[in-house]
């Protein structure tokens, strides 16, 4: 692999459609031989959560219920309709043979995409390391992201 052949993507959004974009681009970058990192922060943590209830205090627990993570619970950014949009979108994508997010996640792992969680937003939202899926390599801060980004040919914020 070439020196400095890196790509880094910040996944800030927890919207199904944006997670799709992030996973697809990460897969494409890794497929092209780039050392690819997906840095998940704030709502984007939902994409790398196991999906169990989270939180310690009352507010954190409320957040854990209302903003419960896991790939299967993500709603599209438009036409959400309280969950109906997710079912509609999933059906439309299945009918066309688009791979579900769970398959893309598996493919990203096979291609060696690094998954990182943002420690600060995990603290704010009371999400623990063990609430994240096992594929997550580490929980880190902004300095790690900047170091990776400064060294990358592609930097995206989704």
């Amino acid at each position: 692999m070439e020196e400095n052949n890196k790509a880094v993507i910040i996944l800030f959004s927890g919207d199904m459609d944006k997670v799709f974009a992030a996973f697809t681009i990460a897969t494409g970058a890794a497929a092209a031989g780039m050392d690819t990192t997906l840095f998940c922060t704030f709502w984007g943590l939902k994409a790398i959560q196991k999906g169990n209830l989270t939180g310690n205090g009352i507010m954190g627990k409320m957040m854990g219920v209302m903003n419960r993570g896991g790939l299967k619970r993500l709603n599209p950014s438009k036409f959400s309709f309280g969950g109906a949009g997710r079912i509609m979108f999933t059906k439309m994508m299945n009918d066309k043979g688009v791979s579900p997010l769970s398959d893309l996640l598996k493919t990203m792992n096979e291609l060696g995409v690094h998954l990182l969680g943002c420690k600060m937003s995990m603290d704010v939202m009371e999400i623990k390391r063990e609430d994240l899926i096992d594929e997550v390599e580490d929980v880190v801060g902004v300095a790690t992201f900047i170091k990776e980004a400064a060294d990358s040919k592609i930097q995206l914020f989704i």
Binding site: T27, V98, S99, E110
Partner: protein, 78 residues
């Protein structure tokens, strides 16, 4: 032009980014000089497969109309 693929990848029915993801995985398992034969019917693949080759420094050999799908031949250069 037709070539003989050392490995055949069936990507019929697959949509972006799966043909490319499988292509990358297959190429990793192959030796330099070997040819990968890809069967794909996704309309995006005609642009994506040559683009992948250019990006990674591998050789795009040809695209052949096989009726319901296209057959792409690429050669592992590195």
């Amino acid at each position: 032009m037709d070539y003989k693929g050392d490995l055949v990848q069936d990507s019929i029915g697959q949509l972006c980014p799966m043909p490319i993801a499988h292509l990358a995985k297959n190429m990793r398992s192959m030796a330099v000089g070997q040819i990968l034969e890809i069967h794909a019917d996704d309309d995006g693949a005609h642009a994506d497969i040559p683009a992948w080759c250019e990006q990674t420094g591998n050789e795009f050999l040809s695209k052949v109309d096989s009726g319901d799908y296209f057959t792409y031949f690429i050669k592992k250069v590195k």
